[in-house]
């Protein structure tokens, strides 16, 4: 965060990040509606807004602000009210440090890769608080599951990020993307896989959605939430997809590297993130939910060893190239 930034620039950047934070998740949400529908031979929303239901999520938002804001009698009121914002704001912070091109970045931090990891780690605290404060046994179970999942998947994710950071010799996302070379696609492939799986688990998307498993524990931590607070959780979920896709694009797919990448670098970054977001939706539609023990087994027996092996490969590569 350069000291040379004027107040206006700070305001402008904040507004831009906030706008992206509010718009991109809606786009992903709508994409999910349509992708899911067509993967099930349906059409998806068609009426809201006229043309192919483009305004479905806006209608959802307009609806959610009108809903009665229920507060369970037995709930821990303060924590219950605080939880949605705690789930949402870390993603906002994380999105601010993700670069779209060397110049387009909300706030360029020297260790932005760690900022992102720290922010997502804090974000899951929101789900935990919601689960506990709702005074509902399903919520509590969901909170437990998300805690277990977070602990299990944070380690491989950190290792995967460590691998690319080691390869690039920097902890800054901008630096990592600048150092990126096309052959890293192969070199860092295991790390990319680990990051994809870990990211999917971190934002609790199917098939890693045990904390929300609607056929087992109603809706996990969000069971008691209605109206705007529930909408904030939903927004956090889609913001998570946006964040993870952008991170994949920046760290493993070379972000703005591509033809005419000078002025259109940001477009490349986004274009590379879209297929990743599509992957998250595709996984959701194709695979059943993992069982809790399968989830833990996958994290500890597949992802962690894989990430460690990748770290070794990266280290050897870095040493040999020097």
């Amino acid at each position: 965060m350069g000291a040379a930034m004027s107040v206006w620039e700070v305001v402008l950047r904040s507004v831009a990040v906030l706008a992206a934070f509010l718009v991109l998740p809606l786009l992903v949400g709508f994409m999910e509606h349509k992708v899911m529908a067509h993967m099930q031979a349906r059409l998806g929303p068609m009426y809201a807004g006229g043309f192919h239901g483009w305004a479905q999520l806006i209608a959802d938002a307009a609806k959610f602000v009108q809903k009665d804001d229920l507060l369970p009698t037995a709930a821990d009121k303060g924590v219950f009210r605080l939880a949605p914002s705690l789930a949402l704001i870390p993603y906002l912070v994380a999105l601010a440090v993700v670069p779209l091109s060397p110049s387009i970045v909300g706030a360029d931090a020297p260790a932005s890769a760690v900022v992102v990891l720290a922010a997502t780690a804090v974000g899951v605290l929101g789900g935990l608080m919601a689960g506990w404060a709702s005074a509902n046994k399903y919520s509590l179970l969901g909170g437990l599951r998300s805690a277990a999942q977070l602990i299990a998947y944070e380690l491989p994710m950190v290792l995967a990020v460590a691998s690319v950071a080691l390869a690039a010799g920097t902890l800054s996302l901008t630096g990592i993307a600048t150092e990126w070379r096309p052959w890293w696609l192969l070199w860092q492939l295991p790390a990319a896989f680990v990051f994809l799986a870990g990211g999917c688990a971190e934002i609790q998307r199917p098939p890693f959605d045990m904390p929300l498993a609607d056929s087992e524990i109603v809706f996990g931590p969000y069971t008691e939430y209605s109206g705007l607070r529930f909408a904030l959780f939903l927004l956090a979920e889609y913001a998570g997809i946006v964040l993870m896709s952008l991170l994949m694009s920046v760290m493993f797919l070379g972000a703005w590297h591509g033809p005419w990448s000078g002025p259109l670098g940001w477009l490349w970054t986004i274009l590379k993130a879209v297929p990743i977001a599509f992957l998250f939706l595709w996984f959701r539609n194709s695979w059943p939910r993992l069982r809790e023990d399968q989830l833990q087994r996958f994290a500890w027996l597949v992802l962690v060893p894989l990430a460690l092996v990748q770290l070794l490969i990266t280290a050897v590569g870095v040493v040999m190239m020097r």
Binding site: Y47, A59, K63, F64, V65, K67, D68, L212, S226
Partner: protein
């Protein structure tokens, strides 16, 4: 056993919104009906047909992703409501956040249907919760459900919401013209002699 439920109220925005905003709000409610299916008998199969690929009521903004009553806006009671089940129906209705709507789907939930003469069947779900749209049929076609949803959407588009109105609705139509809580909606007949 009566729990003193707080009076329902609207979310922060809709209460004091000026008129043009209310049109937008009504539009939002109209096309975002997160549905909560109370499938109690064979009509539930037709409901499922309505949600599946051939009919796909998500086109109309009826979104079946609400895992619990808290997130739902629309409850579709499809099937025979029995006096034993009545309190559960009522409890889940009470757990939904206002503004909420109910579609009674099929003859059984409209009026008891073929079982109206049975000792154990509630004579229509409107005895225990206020119903917005009645869809006839035994079971109705999936298209009937879609038409019922469209009628509900017309109704929502013309609505003016207020907390006072919600309270009035609650006072007027619950449990056979009286206010009652979930445990009280069981008919006297099935209580212990």
């Amino acid at each position: 056993m009566s729990v003193d439920l707080p009076m329902p109220k609207l979310g922060p925005v809709s209460e004091h919104a000026p008129k043009p905003i209310k049109v937008v709000l009504n539009w939002g409610r109209r096309y975002s009906l997160w549905v909560f299916n109370f499938g109690l008998a064979c009509c539930a199969i037709e409901f499922i047909a309505g949600s599946a690929s051939n009919h796909d009521f998500i086109r109309l903004g009826v979104i079946p992703f609400a895992p619990g009553p808290r997130q739902a806006d629309l409850m579709i009671v499809s099937g025979t409501v029995t006096d034993k089940m009545g309190p559960a129906v009522r409890r889940l209705y009470d757990q939904m956040a206002e503004p909420k709507y109910v579609i009674s789907f099929g003859s059984c939930s409209n009026s008891g249907g073929p079982y109206w003469d049975s000792y154990s069947v509630t004579k229509g779900v409107d005895q225990i919760i206020p119903v917005d749209v009645y869809v006839p049929g035994c079971p109705p076609r999936p298209e009937s459900l879609l038409q019922g949803i469209i009628r509900l959407q017309e109704k929502i588009a013309g609505e003016t919401l207020s907390s006072a109105g919600l309270a009035e609705k609650q006072r007027r139509t619950y449990a056979g013209h009286r206010r009652a809580t979930a445990p009280e909606v069981t008919r006297g007949l099935v209580s212990r002699p």
